[in-house]
Symmetry: C2
Subunit: 247 residues, 2 copies
DNA sequence: GCAAAAGTGTTACAAGTACACCCATGG
DNA sequence: CCATGGGTGTACTTGTAACACTTTTGC
């Protein structure tokens, strides 16, 4: 039967169907010290007590999944609302297998978010235990979160190829070396610097040079010019990874 | 608060939160007579009685959204289970704005499906009124289905660029002219035939030539060689549309 | 001076674009 | 014999890959 068609006129009685819980799960990525990190929280109760899990929570009655995702991220990281609205947020897909949560029927909308490597304000939120963990070091996540996380990683990697997404991993001003580092850590491959440079600068609106003194990127080496993200959000032609396979 | 964390120990009482209805909505595309068509159903009841809408329905207590989508499509088209499992099915995204359905809180997981232009078995299903409508001719759809449909169209168009998806629009055996027609009708642009041909044949596993007599594609012209879909599902390098902008 | 990082140049090759042209069939 | 769609060849342009080389800093 099709409850939205004319054949089930009582299909809209809120008590006529089994209730679903709707949650959001967040895959929050950061590039720190040349390694890709993910924000994880430690569960305090059964099931999976003591396990690492993706941050997330219930969608409230009067908010959309996107709003819930932003709210949860704010609570988990302690970032203020302005910072949250600025960063890249993207719906991944929805996980709805009947037994993905042993307690009840939970349908979860997964999101990916990209953070620049800010001074770590964790603990400012109300999360019991939360940490940016290097991607790939925690293999057993609660529920189906391991699958969600690997789906998110694959998606982010693919999007770097044809979008300007990489700047979302960077602070407001960055060097081309840092930008290249984002690609290299997410993809796990080395890139040719001269070619990367040309490619980025040849794409109009990807990055804009910032006037002013060049920036020191730590210790040795020639000071690099500073750039900020440009208005473009698509890359044409795409910046394909060496042996890349999309999707 | 975060009901999946340790701070809300009663967060799992099924009655403790407002119930959500979870539905699936389907954007079912076909290429017929050189035009892109979408499967729409006419609503029989309020709200939006008499309006065209995407087919869809509630997710049942023991099925995933993917299973619900396949079941609904079978009911709507009358196709048998084998045909349904064979065709391309893809989760698009989830629409969760609180007021997208005026009656109650409905979270809908949207799917896109691609059908080859089969002999139309519509009415074999139990849909009141369903039809393959040329894409773009119906502008006012019920609920937020207009938005879902345009999102689906954009996604399908983008996926043609880097996946072997186009063969899903074709019958088991097809000509390169028909395959090119799929690209041209979905993208709305003309393609150079010699280049298209070379590109497709140069991608290993995209199509495989079928031995046997060449096929007449209607009336005039040289008979074309027949092909079937190959084992590949990604296109490397991608087949970019003339002035394509992804996403 | 040496290592490290930024930045420039060059060359060889692969891929995409835009055509002109021939082939087989139906009317 | 001509319109129509299938199929081949080719020159031109663009993009990519690889790598040599110079510049500017810290130590």
């Amino acid at each position: 039967m099709n409850e939205r068609g004319p054949r089930v006129p009582d299909g809209y009685d809120p008590g006529a169907f089994e209730p679903f819980a709707v949650t959001v799960d967040l895959a929050v990525f950061t590039v720190r010290q040349g390694a890709l990190h993910v924000l994880l929280v430690e569960r305090g109760e059964e099931p999976y007590a003591g396990w690492w899990a993706l941050p997330g929570g219930f969608v409230r009655p009067r908010e959309s999944a996107e709003e819930a995702a932003r709210r949860e991220l704010a609570e988990e990281t302690g970032l203020d609302a302005d910072a949250i609205t600025a960063l890249h947020f993207e719906q991944l897909r929805t996980y709805s297998e009947p037994d993905r949560d042993p307690r009840m029927r939970v349908v979860s909308v997964a999101f990916a978010a990209l953070l620049p490597a800010l001074p770590e304000p964790l603990g400012g939120g109300d999360a019991a235990r939360a940490a940016h963990v290097p991607y790939g070091t925690v293999h057993d996540l609660a529920f189906d979160h391991g699958r969600i996380l690997s789906d998110a990683h694959r998606r982010i990697g693919a999007k770097l190829e044809y979008s300007c997404l990489a700047t979302s991993f960077c602070p407001p001003e960055f060097t081309l070396g840092e930008l290249q580092g984002v690609y290299e850590t997410v993809w796990g491959t080395a890139l040719d610097r001269p070619n990367f440079r040309r490619k980025v600068l040849a794409t109009p609106g990807f990055v804009e040079q910032v006037d002013g003194p060049p920036r020191r990127s730590g210790g040795r080496g020639k000071p690099a010019a500073r750039y900020r993200a440009g208005p473009a959000n698509a890359l044409h032609p795409p910046l394909l990874r060496p042996e890349g396979r999309p999707e």
